[in-house]
């Protein structure tokens, strides 16, 4: 600055006007409720901040949290006001995140004067998440204050999908819906359907549906986890793994658990702990995920080859003697295999010499009553898997043989501390994917790492679901729209085929609830869903329960505003680690108001607008469905304390916490609290710190008139299971028909799948096996189901922070393929599936195998009106066209845009690309055994887009959809043809809601049979 410039500068200081005086904002002190309508305001505290407490994590890290004894009255400086020191006064209310299934603990900072939520942070008392959260937890604040959220009940005015709505009262909505339900229930028990995405709670709604006396539960399981569930259930009776990552020596992931997945945050922190203690991490993934990048051994397996690699590792363990022979002898149903396995081997396609070796061992085994020799089983086992060499696996998987040897070495080194996990990925990608889970658990069995410290437990050992104050009996009904006869072993409802079932006349629905679920968007073949949702003859009344707009709700008759994580009561438990806990989701404003002495009659008084919590909604609706109690339904939602009135939330949860959670009453008493008060304060309770080897527990008093089965299953005179006898001691055992781990599955054999490749851990040829993909013709595999760490399907679409982190889903393509197609990063690709095509941008990367293209399936949201139906920053404006031949086209008109709202951040939206809705172009591909949708798609053509093909455009021919559906359903083996006992499904297998036994009887007139 030159001298005269400085003079001018200083001189002008003398000419400053009095208008430079600034207005000091007045801090609000009154209660507000701004969510969705304005940005919240917070009061200024008249106290200094409170000191944080230090929490020592098991991994040695030190974090600081508010001490629980000060949660009721907490003061801290407002970080957003820095460098001013503005103290704010909060009451801290724990709740549970609702953005994925992990059920991590959150701590809501609720302003003590305005009752606005300042932020959500981690709850240090939560045993699963231990105070830590991923990005989705704090983003609950975005969802709460989302200016586009639904605040009032809406009713359709015009035609379905026309976009005309009117605001109605809850009274009007409840009266209409409940009367429809009542009329339906009086006529049949299959007319009401509750279709849920992630439940986010453990028993409440299922109890309500059971109370209705209908087979009404439909889930998203068959597009999520059915195959893994099947694989684990055929082994053990429990349908999920619960790896003890933190204490493992080797962690084997067929997933990307360090960044996503069930249960991402609780698992990731424990995997890291294991790594810090020297554990090795092995990851199978054709994509270089962040998890793969952090692994000691990454196996970029060709999709569908995973089971081959796992069996090669199993074979290595067997042939080198590095397996836990004693565990297998004690806990595997090897006697049954020796006795009954010959037929399955005879029927196999094993080479003759190979087959002879196995059969020689089996034929020499004698029968079950003559104490068959485990040594012969060992011989048979070694012979059976001898063909799975490292070289064979390397060729199938297209990975270096040394990499498989390395993985096998790590598995062998694990001893009985092998933590292994698969949930979606390969299991849900491939036809026969359930065998991936079965082969993976085979490694746990061979290493004896089942339920051990550092091993893999089963979900039932680490998850706790309490019972309510009274429970309705099982219903007497079987809805073929859920569990059709073609899929007797499905896990569970064949939900993604519902539009096809409706289309071919299998039934209709009187009242259809979609609950925080967007079936048209998330399922494959979305245009078939759209056709079903638009048809009032097939779906007579569609009620969308959702906090925000979504593509499916647009076609509903009612859209009812439901609460986010801080606006509802739910109880949840998850198998996040070796312990066992429950978490309590709470409406945090309501709790804060009650702490301040306010009486809140129902949660609508504390939630934004007229947003309601489901728990109260279901009680009210159920009461109205049976107002005089004549249907026998009302009793299940009636208060015990005040008969004749509906049960309230305090009464409901107080009973559970006082009577149904072991240890909680004593813990509460220790703090001078009621059990409900304890849960309101901490939001969680740890029932067990660890729960290892529960199947080994000796059953006390197992005497009297007992019957012992061939594998040692012990039952009493009434046929009730007592336990399983192992070396003379009756132990708890497993929830299988034999009480043992079922290496050989009589269930699969008896229900239509007797071949070797189904009855024992084996490989099944995927629908995307190299033989099915003609790469010379340009065919590729579309890997469409990988997750992003910061998003969760359509649930996170209204979280601005999460979308700023990532908002598009380009096509990952290897440089070799990109060169062949002449495409560069950012250029448009047209990807054609078997039923349609879409256009998306290419991302050229070596992070994907040649021959495969990959896309995250979280993105590509759209809306049909500019100012309704979706958040402008997270959805694209689109239009729909259709011809009269089944052709549907989604045209993208405009990407994300900035807009003016009470939230200034909406004016700062800087991105346009919000991804491409690829799921529309996926044909339904139901696995014939597990019922899982096999997500991997054959891309029949991938080419550079030509002029006129625009980013985000999608076209589908639903006539082809129907053809593909028929082709896949033809692979199934119906219970009508294969049921061994005239029932629809093995009774021992789970269903989310199990009807009475008599309902299992096969239908007199099965659909499709003359």
């Amino acid at each position: 600055m030159k001298e005269n410039a400085l003079e001018r500068f200083l001189g002008s200081m003398l000419r400053l006007s009095s208008s430079t005086a600034r207005a000091v904002p007045v801090a609000p002190t009154a209660e507000t409720n701004a969510a969705g309508t304005a940005m919240p305001t917070y009061s200024i505290a008249d106290q200094p901040p409170v000191d944080l407490t230090e929490v020592h994590h098991p991994d040695g890290r030190l974090s600081r949290y508010p001490p629980p004894e000060r949660w009721a009255d907490w003061v801290e400086y407002d970080g957003a006001k820095w460098p001013e020191r503005v103290p704010r006064r909060y009451t801290l209310v724990p709740t549970i995140c609702f953005n994925c299934e992990s059920a991590c603990g959150l701590l809501a900072y609720v302003d003590k004067s305005t009752f606005e939520v300042r932020k959500f942070e981690g709850n240090p008392a939560h045993p699963g998440s231990r105070g830590r959260n991923c990005a989705k937890g704090p983003a609950t604040h975005n969802q709460t204050y989302d200016p586009e959220r639904l605040l009032y009940p809406l009713k359709r005015v015009g035609e379905r999908g026309e976009g005309k709505w009117k605001r109605v009262s809850w009274e009007e909505a409840l009266t209409d819906i409940s009367s429809r339900m009542r009329e339906s229930r009086k006529v049949r028990r299959t007319g009401i359907m509750y279709h849920v995405g992630r439940p986010g709670e453990d028993h409440y709604t299922n109890r309500i549906i059971t109370a209705w006396g209908v087979d009404g539960h439909n889930s998203h399981t068959n597009i999520c986890s059915a195959a893994s569930r099947a694989g684990y259930a055929f082994w053990s009776g429990a349908d999920r793994p619960s790896p003890d990552h933190a204490n493992a020596r080797t962690v084997l992931l067929i997933s990307s658990h360090l960044e996503t997945g069930h249960y991402f945050n609780p698992h990731a922190q424990r995997i890291i702990e294991a790594k810090m203690n020297g554990a090795k991490v092995i990851t199978f993934d054709p994509r270089l995920s962040n998890t793969a990048a952090k692994s000691d051994c990454w196996l970029p397996t060709w999709p569908g080859s995973e089971a081959v690699v796992l069996l090669a590792i199993a074979n290595h363990l067997l042939q080198t003697g590095k397996w836990d022979r004693e565990f297998v002898r004690r806990w595997v149903n090897w006697k049954t295999f020796l006795h009954e396995g010959a037929a399955t081997v005879e029927a196999s396609s094993l080479p003759a010499a190979h087959k002879s070796a196995v059969l020689a061992a089996l034929h020499a085994a004698g029968d079950l009553t003559s104490a068959p020799d485990f040594g012969r089983f060992e011989v048979a086992l070694k012979a059976l898997y001898a063909g799975f060499t490292f070289e064979f696996a390397a060729a199938e998987a297209d990975v270096p043989v040394e990499r498989i040897e390395e993985a096998a070495r790590y598995v062998a080194q694990a001893g009985n501390r092998l933590a292994a996990h698969v949930w979606r990925s390969a299991s849900m990608g491939n036809r026969g994917g359930w065998q991936v889970a079965r082969c993976l658990f085979f490694l746990n069995v061979l290493t004896g790492s089942v339920g051990t410290e550092g091993g893999t437990s089963l979900n039932t050992w680490n998850k706790f679901v309490p019972r309510a104050y009274k429970s309705p009996p099982p219903f007497d009904a079987w809805n073929e729209l859920h569990m059709p006869h073609e899929y007797p072993l499905a896990f569970y409802e064949m939900s993604f085929l519902l539009p096809h079932f409706l289309d071919e006349g299998r039934g209709d629905i009187d009242v259809y609830f979609t609950r925080v679920y967007n079936p048209m968007w998330i399922n494959p073949d979305g245009f078939m869903w759209m056709q079903a949702l638009r048809d009032p003859e097939k779906i007579k009344c569609h009620v969308a329960l959702t906090p925000t707009w979504n593509e499916s709700a647009w076609f509903a008759d009612y859209v009812l505003p439901m609460g986010h994580a801080g606006e509802r009561h739910d109880l949840m438990s998850q198998e996040t680690h070796s312990g066992m806990w429950i978490g309590f989701r709470q409406p945090v404003r309501r709790v804060a108001m009650e702490r301040a002495g306010r009486v809140v009659k129902d949660t609508r008084e504390s939630n934004p607008g007229e947003v309601w919590e489901e728990a109260e909604f279901w009680v009210d609706l159920t009461w109205r469905m049976d107002p005089d109690g004549s249907l026998g339904i009302r009793q299940w939602v009636e208060s015990v304390a005040q008969p004749g009135t509906a049960v309230g939330q305090d009464e409901y949860w107080a009973w559970i916490f006082e009577n149904s959670v072991p240890g909680l009453p004593a813990a509460a008493k220790g703090e001078g609290l009621t059990p409900l008060g304890y849960m309101r304060k901490y939001g969680c309770f740890e029932l067990k710190e660890t729960n290892y080897l529960p199947y080994e527990h000796a059953v006390e008093g197992a005497t009297g008139s007992l019957h012992t089965g061939p594998e040692g299953l012990v039952t009493d005179a009434a046929g009730t299971r007592v336990g399983v006898e192992v070396d003379g001691v009756v132990r708890a055992g497993f929830a299988t028909p034999s009480g043992k781990l079922e290496f050989f599955s009589p269930t699969l054999r008896d229900w239509g799948w007797p071949e070797l490749e189904h009855t024992v851990p084996w490989t099944l040829e995927s629908h995307v096996h190299p033989r099915a993909i003609n790469r010379e013709k340009g065919e590729m595999i579309l890997l469409p189901n990988f997750r992003l760490p910061h998003l969760i399907h359509t649930r996170s679409a209204n979280a601005k922070w999460l979308y700023e982190i990532g908002h598009n889903n380009p096509v990952w393509i290897h440089p070799e393929d990109a060169t062949r197609l002449g495409v560069h990063t950012g250029e448009l690709l047209r990807v054609e599936t078997e039923i349609g095509w879409f256009v998306d941008r290419a991302w050229v990367t070596e992070g994907i195998k040649p021959g495969i293209i990959a896309m995250s399936h979280h993105l590509g949201r759209w809306r049909l009106q500019d100012d309704a139906g979706g958040n402008k920053g997270t959805t694209a404006l689109a239009s729909l066209d259709e011809d009269d031949k089944g052709g549907h086209t989604l045209h993208m008109l405009k990407g994300a845009t900035a807009w003016t709202s009470p939230d200034p951040d909406t004016a700062r939206i800087w991105w346009k690309d919000v991804g491409v809705h690829q799921n529309l172009t996926h044909a339904v591909q139901p696995d014939p055994v597990s019922g899982a949708h096999c997500w991997l798609q054959k891309a029949v053509s991938v080419r550079k887009a030509v002029p006129g093909e625009r980013h985000g455009d999608v076209h589908v021919d639903t006539m082809k959809s129907r053809e593909l559906y028929k082709r896949w359903i033809a692979l199934s083996r119906s219970a009508v043809d294969h049921s061994p006992n005239g029932e629809r499904r093995p009774h021992w297998l789970n269903r989310p809601l199990k009807p009475v036994r008599s309902a299992f009887k096969l239908p007199v007139k099965p659909f499709g049979r003359s």
Binding site: M1, R8, L10, G11, S12, L14, L16, S19, T20
Partner: protein, 352 residues
């Protein structure tokens, strides 16, 4: 809150050479506004004042001020610069260990007490915002004294001490560091606001020092301009890359403040991987990577460019207070040359 003096009624048009009382008032307002700028960032309330200022932080951008200054961007730049990159504390520059809250903070606190001032309400007393506000207070007191016909000498003495003992000793290096951050990247309007503000502050300080007889090399200044004793990290034959990194991130040894962004920018230019952690961690990681890829000399060259940039800023500031920083910068250049030579010789045993 803007000090009352800023909100005072306008005075009559200023004479060409204002009398001392008005000069003091002008400085008082300037320090208050500049202090607010570095403490809280450019805000709507102070933008009103800055728009009335000639040659101020809004500069000569052709666009109208309300177009070229986006308050959101200004807030973001403030956080980026002074929260994430460059701590605006005297202690960070002058303390032998580069840490905050030590003897230097206490020294400023004691000096404020002499003037009857307690601790600032929202920052430590050795933050640039607090020091400028402190000086602004002293200038305001001088203006009041002159207006009331009271002897302003003691107050001017306090100003002189504040300048000699504190502000002039480190603000030149602070300005050089901010220039090095902005100079390496395309600067937005908001970035330039703070760069201009820092340079204006330095100019006002130097002008003020000249008026009150500070900033010289006379006996009154004594050894005020000396920095903590220089060390030669390479004297220790066992010194590794960690020791070199720790030496270079100490402003009083390196001759300036090597920010995270500057380190990462050097890595990006050379396409070398970087690590996470403190500035010393980052720099050590960069040097390690450079050693692995035989690019130690390249890293030293990049760092040398940064040090040269500091020198350009310091040399343009006509104050003797810049001299020790320039000396340290020359020592750093020499050190970098030796490290580069060692790297070229692949003396990996010695370095790593």
């Amino acid at each position: 809150m803007i000090p009352d003096r800023l909100a005072a009624a306008p005075l009559a048009p200023a004479p060409l050479v204002p009398p001392p009382g008005l000069q003091a008032l002008a400085r008082s307002r300037a320090y208050a506004l500049l202090g607010d700028l570095f403490g809280r960032g450019l805000r709507a309330e102070t933008l009103v004042a800055w728009r009335q200022v000639d040659g101020g932080i809004l500069g000569d951008d052709p666009a109208p001020a309300d177009v070229c200054v986006d308050l959101e961007a200004a807030a973001e730049a403030h956080t980026r610069f002074f929260v994430l990159e460059l701590p605006a504390f005297e202690g960070a520059f002058l303390a032998p260990d580069g840490l905050l809250g030590g003897a230097i903070t206490q020294s400023v606190r004691a000096a404020r007490t002499l003037a009857g001032l307690g601790d600032p309400v929202d920052v430590e007393p050795d933050h640039l915002a607090a020091e400028l506000a402190w000086l602004g207070f002293l200038c305001g007191a001088e203006a009041d004294a002159l207006r009331d016909g009271v002897d302003a000498g003691p107050i001017i003495g306090l100003q002189r001490a504040a300048l000699n003992t504190h502000l002039l000793r480190w603000v030149p290096a602070f300005v050089a560091a901010l220039d090095s951050i902005i100079g390496g990247e395309p600067a937005g309007a908001a970035d330039r606001v703070y760069q201009r503000g820092a340079n204006i502050a330095l100019q006002v300080l130097i002008e003020h020092a000249a008026v009150v007889g500070a900033g010289g090399d006379g006996p009154e200044a004594g050894s005020a301009w000396a920095l903590p004793v220089a060390t030669d990290v390479l004297e220790d034959p066992k010194a590794g890359l960690r020791a070199i990194a720790e030496h270079l991130v100490l402003p009083c040894q390196a001759g300036g403040y090597l920010t995270r962004g500057v380190i990462l920018r050097a890595a990006r230019r050379l396409e070398l991987p970087t690590t996470f952690g403190t500035r010393a961690d980052l720099l050590e990681g960069l040097l390690c990577a450079a050693a692995q890829y035989s690019m130690v000399a390249d890293v030293c060259r990049e760092l040398g460019i940064v040090v040269a940039g500091w020198a350009r800023t310091l040399e343009s500031a006509p104050t003797i207070a810049a001299t020790p920083w320039l000396d340290r910068g020359r020592r750093t250049q020499a050190l970098l040359a030796r490290v580069a030579a060692a790297g070229r010789a692949d003396d990996s045993d010695r370095l790593g």
